[in-house]
Subunit: 202 residues, 4 copies
DNA sequence: CATGAATGAGGATTCATTCAT
DNA sequence: AATGAATGAATCCTCATTCAT
């Protein structure tokens, strides 16, 4: 029993070391040797837990994936077709941000890794697909409830996820909006909404 | 004189080979050996033209860069503060698309390489910055001319460039919108504009 | 007492696993890890019983060695200088075959390992020497009793042991003579005898 | 052109080094590292010429193979159905011996490697098959010409090739018969012939 | 200019062996 | 006795780079 705990600990050490090395050298720039060196474990130990750098990346991304998916699943449950659609969106977006913030390093890694080498692409695809699907579900709901115009929600999900990605990149990778990220989220929603919301006035 | 021509040809062969290998293995997955093998030239020859894979990538991206920049510079010259702002945007966007299409492979490479490893990031940064700057200039002009609401044009340039990038990715990397890409561009502009355009009703 | 039995069982498991792995990968191609994996025991357990793969091979060969030696020793005791020398040879040869058949896998391993790497050679040398010595004793007896011509019995023991080895190889390794091996043994004896036997004609 | 010669020389160095290491450690006991060290070439150079130790073994055996095959082919051409069959056999056998002697080290390697690990077995099979086929052809010819009894020539080819192999082993591996090998060959033929030759007397 | 053989550092992977539980 | 996690030496293999032709 104790031994299992030790194994778990070693695995965690590897992941921790990898996270640091990835942040410093980027995924493609890190070798198993680098991770091993940082972890201060023996070379052979690495192979007891992982077979390749790719698998380590996978394990790391898995962690965020679980949190993000849980978040999105919970969110979906809530009904969105109320009065203050826009306000609710803002609340959702901000709590999603906090999930990202909890995983700063891994999300940075994710941003850096997305759409990269064919071999990696599949490992990050889920993120794009998850985000786009979630966005689209919300949009479809908005359309169905009459709050939004009828439009190509797939295309829109691409535009929003792309915009979101860029914002995350600016925020996490380039350090912009360090303090007023929440405020910027409001602006972002406003921009999208006013292009999408039925104006219906008069 | 004859010799220079030959040199130029050899260089072109290397670039051509590299383009193919990058498309197949991704940038991080290609070694000098790979490029040399594909080019059917001698190993030593490579070093007469480039010092590293990175330099090859650079040269390849340079080609698109020049075309894109020329395009954007020319565009800027034109005045945008006319009546049919939206229509003009569409025209601009579509001709930009054709630039991308002419460089399909290299743009794919660019999309795949952007925001990646720290060492490469700098090489692709110009693309983001160029696009964002251009978008922002247009927006600023729109605001100045009273066609657009007053808003944070920097933020908006992020959102638009992110959306655009995602569309390009879907188009070039994942083969979506193969035929009706132009139509989608119209929708895209419409989405953004109606969120940005002063509604000015009544 | 209980513990000793358990230990014996574990040892047997290792030997059994090793036999299978050897048959599949060959001796040189098997690592301790391979045997451990096949045996489903823990890595450390292996070292409680053996120190190296070589020792396992040794233990396996030991088993056949004991049986063969017992057989040959018993045989020697019998007197051969009777009338029907040839018939008796056939009887002896066939019962030797049955010893081999009982240890099919290990004898195959032996055939595969004989004369191989210097480090192993010593472990299999006994087999050749035992066979050659036994053959030679019989031949010497035949000569002494006047049944056989006078000739170099050492050389002859090499020829016969070599021929025998090749037959075993064809039989056990390559599956030839699956059914009529006994018949072939008769032919073999006949070939050798008629070249060795005094013809004594007229 | 000069460069090709150099390459050939390097390849020869590797083969030479390998031959020595094989002789010392046996095939299974030698690593690429061993060969490289012995050859005093760079590690990478090895891979320019071979992909594995197995390929080196192959190349080495190939050399003998060619010589042996040429020898046997030439021999076949001669007609054997003359008067002094036995004498001719002796001549043939002795010139075959000289081929073996020219390739002492490689033939030793061959003897050591035959019937070994499954992966190698195929590489040495040709030797056994070539010898057995050649022997059988001679025997068949002898039978056809009436010089030899009718018997199972396949079985006999196994017995003879096995006996031959053992003699070679004693000679090349264990240093027996260093001086009078030729004399022993005569005895060997005599032994076999008198068991095979029609006595036909009276 | 172009060639391609040779180089050796560095990274990937396996393996026998130890040791705390 | 048995276990299996950890170890690090040894090996395999690739790669960027040099240099004589």
């Amino acid at each position: 029993m104790r031994q299992e705990k030790r194994k778990e600990l070693t695995r965690a050490k590897i992941l921790q070391a990898a996270k640091q090395v990835f942040a410093h050298n980027g995924y493609a720039g890190t070798s198993i040797a680098d991770i091993v060196k940082k972890s201060k474990l023996a070379r052979g130990t690495f192979y007891l837990h992982f077979q390749s750098v790719e698998q380590v990346l996978n394990a790391l991304l898995q962690e965020v994936f679980i949190d993000i998916q849980r978040y999105l699943t919970d969110m979906q449950v809530e009904t969105l077709d109320h009065k203050n659609f826009k306000l609710q969106l803002a609340v959702l977006a901000k709590s999603l941000l906090s999930v990202f913030q909890n995983h700063r390093d891994t999300v940075s890694l994710l941003l850096t890794t997305m759409n990269a080498e064919p071999k990696i692409r599949t490992q990050t695809l889920w993120f794009q697909e998850l985000m786009q699907a979630s966005i689209r579900v919300m949009l479809d709901r908005g359309v169905a409830s009459g709050r939004l115009k009828k439009f190509d929600t797939e295309l829109m999900s691409f535009l929003v996820s792309g915009g979101l990605r860029e914002m995350l990149t600016q925020w996490l990778l380039y350090g912009r909006y360090a303090n007023d990220i929440e405020h910027k989220v409001d602006e972002m929603i406003s921009v999208y909404m006013n292009g999408v919301e039925k104006t219906d006035k008069k």
